[in-house]
C-alpha cells in the first residue's frame, strides 16, 4: 500500500468504516513488531505492545496530518508507548526485587551473532537503541529522525555518534568474550 492508499484508508476509518483499519494494521504490523522487538531487546511481550500501539494509533487517528509520513508518525507513537512499558516494567522489577523474564523467541533467534548484538544493545539506553534502529536499519536521514523524535538535528547527530561508539565498543567486547568462551570450551573438549 502506498502513502495515498494509506491516507484513503485513514479517511474511511475516520468516516466510520472501522473495518478498514485492518488494512493499516496489516500494512504496518510486521514493521512495528520488529521495531518493538528490537527496542525491548526481548524484555517485553512484543505482540501485546504492538496491539496496544495500534489501538493508540486508532484513537489518535484524527491527529494524524495527511501528507506526512504515516510510518514516521507510527514510529513515534510506538517508541513512546514502548518506553512507557519498559519504565513500568522497571518499576515492577524494583518492587519485586526480581529479574525481568526473557520472553520466548523463535528458535532460530539465538544465533551467536544475534546473541552478541543483543548483549551489545542491552548496554544501550532505549533512546540510543532507537537512534541506531532509525538511522542504521531504517536508513532515515537525521532530519526525518529529528522530526520523529522532536529534537534538533545537531543534538541528534551527537547522540547518534555516541550511541554508535557505545554499541561498537560493547559489541567488540562481547565478541572477544565470546571468542574466549569458545576457546575455553574447545580446550576442555580437547582435554577430554
Amino acid at each position: 500500500m502506498g502513502q495515498q492508499e494509506i491516507e484513503n484508508a485513514i479517511e474511511r476509518v475516520l468516516n466510520g468504516q472501522i473495518d478498514d483499519y485492518s488494512l493499516i494494521v496489516k500494512q504496518y504490523q510486521k514493521q512495528l513488531l520488529k521495531y518493538v522487538r528490537y527496542l525491548t531487546n526481548g524484555k517485553c511481550d512484543v505482540e501485546d505492545i504492538v496491539q496496544e500501539v495500534f489501538i493508540r494509533i486508532y484513537q489518535n487517528l484524527s491527529k494524524y496530518q495527511l501528507g506526512t509520513s504515516f510510518s514516521n508518525w507510527a514510529y513515534r507513537i510506538t517508541f513512546n508507548h514502548t518506553m512507557n512499558m519498559l519504565k513500568k516494567q522497571n518499576r515492577h522489577k524494583i518492587l519485586l526485587f526480581g529479574k525481568i523474564p526473557e520472553y520466548a523467541q523463535s528458535p532460530n533467534s539465538s544465533s551467536e551473532i544475534s546473541h552478541e548484538v543483543k548483549e551489545a544493545l542491552s548496554k544501550l539506553s532505549i533512546e540510543e537503541r532507537n537512534l541506531i534502529y532509525l538511522r542504521v536499519y531504517e536508513d532515515l536521514s537525521y532530519r526525518k529522525i529529528s522530526q520523529i523524535q522532536n529534537v534538533s538535528e545537531s543534538a541528534l547527530r551527537k547522540k547518534y555518534e555516541r550511541a554508535r561508539k557505545k554499541f561498537i565498543k560493547a559489541y567488540i567486547k562481547e565478541d572477544s568474550d565470546y571468542e574466549n568462551r569458545s576457546n575455553e570450551n574447545t580446550d576442555i573438549r580437547l582435554c577430554k
Binding site: K26, K34, Q51, Y58, S62
Partner: protein, 323 residues
C-alpha cells in the same frame, strides 16, 4: 567497525525473527469492544471554546442586568455635540464642527455628546484599559504622551470627567495596575498589539445626563481603504442611558487579504465586525470578568465625514434610546 558492517549486524538481528502472525482481527475486535470511534480532539477544543464564550457572555449579561436595574429611572435628558480644539488639531475629520452645529430639531430631546477630548490619532499600543465601575468613567490609556514622574500625578478625578490618562510604557501600566489592584479598577488587555484598535469605552453618566462617545473610524492603513475613506460609527447600546462606542482607527491590514477584506467591509460591515470581534476580544488579566455586550451592537456607515452624516447618526442613536 564500519557503518556497513554495523548495518549488516543490526539488520540481521532485526530480521532474524519473522513475524507471521496477523493481529488485525484482534486489534479490530478490541477497538469495537472498547472505543468505537477515534477521538476528535478538535471537536473537544471547539466545545470548550463555546462553553467558555457562553460562560463569559452569561457573566457579563449578569453585570448588565445589575446596571440596568440601577439606571432604569435615569433617562437621557440632553446630549451635546462638542468637538474640542485638540481634536480639531489632531484630526481634520472634526474640523469645522462646533456646538452650534447641533441642529434645532435635536435640541430638547435626547441628543448626542461627541466628546472629542480623546486623542483619536493615537493607537493604544499597550492595549490596556483601566476601568472603574460602570457608573464611573471608563478610562482609556494611550501612549501618546510622556509619563509623569510620579504616578500619583495621574488625575483620576479629572479622568473621571473625561481626561486622558496616558501610560506610555508597559512598566508604567503594570505599576498603575498594581496600585489599583485592590480597588474596583480592572486591568484589561487586548489579545493583539499589531492589529490593535483604539478601543475604548466611555459610558460616563454625570448626574442625569448621559454622555455618548462617538468617534469616527477611518481606514487609513491601506491604500485600498484610503480610496474609499469609509467612516464607520459603531455604537453599542447597553441601556437606555448609556452607549458604548468602539472606535477603530489606523487599522493595519498588512496581514489581511486586501481584496477580501475590502469586499467584506464594503458589502457587509456587520460580518466584518463580527469576525474582528473575535480577534479583538478583550480578556481580563484578573479574575473578574466584565465583557461588553455586543448583542445589541449597531453599525452605521457613511461615505464621508460630514455634518449631515453626524446629525443623521445622532438621530439614529437617539432613536435607539427611544426604543
Amino acid at each position: 567497525m564500519k557503518t556497513e558492517a554495523m548495518k549488516t549486524l543490526i539488520s540481521d538481528y532485526v530480521n532474524e525473527e519473522s513475524f507471521e502472525l496477523d493481529m488485525s482481527n484482534t486489534v479490530l475486535k478490541r477497538i469495537k469492544q472498547s472505543k468505537g470511534k477515534p477521538r476528535h480532539y478538535k471537536k473537544h477544543v471547539l466545545l470548550i471554546a463555546v462553553l467558555t464564550i457562553l460562560f463569559s457572555t452569561f457573566t457579563f449579561a449578569t453585570v448588565l442586568k445589575v446596571i440596568e436595574l440601577q439606571t432604569d429611572n435615569n433617562p437621557v435628558k440632553e446630549v451635546k455635540i462638542i468637538p474640542s480644539i485638540q481634536e480639531t488639531q489632531n484630526n481634520d475629520l472634526w474640523e469645522g464642527f462646533s456646538e452650534s452645529d447641533v441642529p434645532e430639531n435635536l435640541k430638547g430631546i435626547p441628543t448626542m455628546t461627541i466628546n472629542t477630548e480623546y486623542p483619536t490619532h493615537g493607537i493604544i499600543r499597550r492595549g490596556n484599559y483601566i476601568i472603574s465601575s460602570y457608573d464611573e468613567l471608563i478610562t482609556s490609556i494611550s501612549n501618546t504622551q510622556p509619563l509623569p514622574q510620579n504616578i500619583d500625578e495621574y488625575k483620576f478625578e479629572q479622568a473621571l470627567v473625561g481626561y486622558i490618562v496616558t501610560i506610555p510604557t508597559d512598566e508604567a501600566l503594570i505599576a498603575l495596575a498594581n496600585k489599583y489592584q485592590d480597588s474596583q479598577f480592572y486591568t484589561f488587555e487586548l489579545e493583539t498589539q499589531e492589529l490593535v484598535v483604539d478601543w475604548y469605552e466611555y459610558a460616563h453618566k454625570t448626574k442625569s445626563d448621559a454622555i455618548y462617545t462617538i468617534q469616527p473610524t477611518k481606514y487609513s492603513g491601506e491604500r485600498a481603504f484610503q480610496e474609499n475613506q469609509l467612516l464607520e460609527y459603531e455604537v453599542i447600546q447597553l441601556k437606555s442611558t448609556e452607549a458604548f462606542l468602539i472606535k477603530r482607527d489606523n487599522m493595519d491590514f498588512s496581514g489581511a487579504n486586501d481584496k477580501k477584506s475590502k469586499d467584506i467591509i464594503e458589502n457587509n460591515y456587520q460580518i466584518f465586525w463580527q469576525e474582528k470581534e473575535i480577534e479583538f476580544s478583550i480578556r481580563p488579566s484578573r479574575s473578574t470578568r466584565i465583557y461588553p455586550d455586543f448583542t445589541n451592537r449597531k453599525v452605521y456607515s457613511y461615505p464621508e465625514h460630514t455634518k449631515e452624516n453626524l446629525i443623521d447618526l445622532a438621530t439614529k442613536i437617539n432613536g435607539l434610546d427611544n426604543d
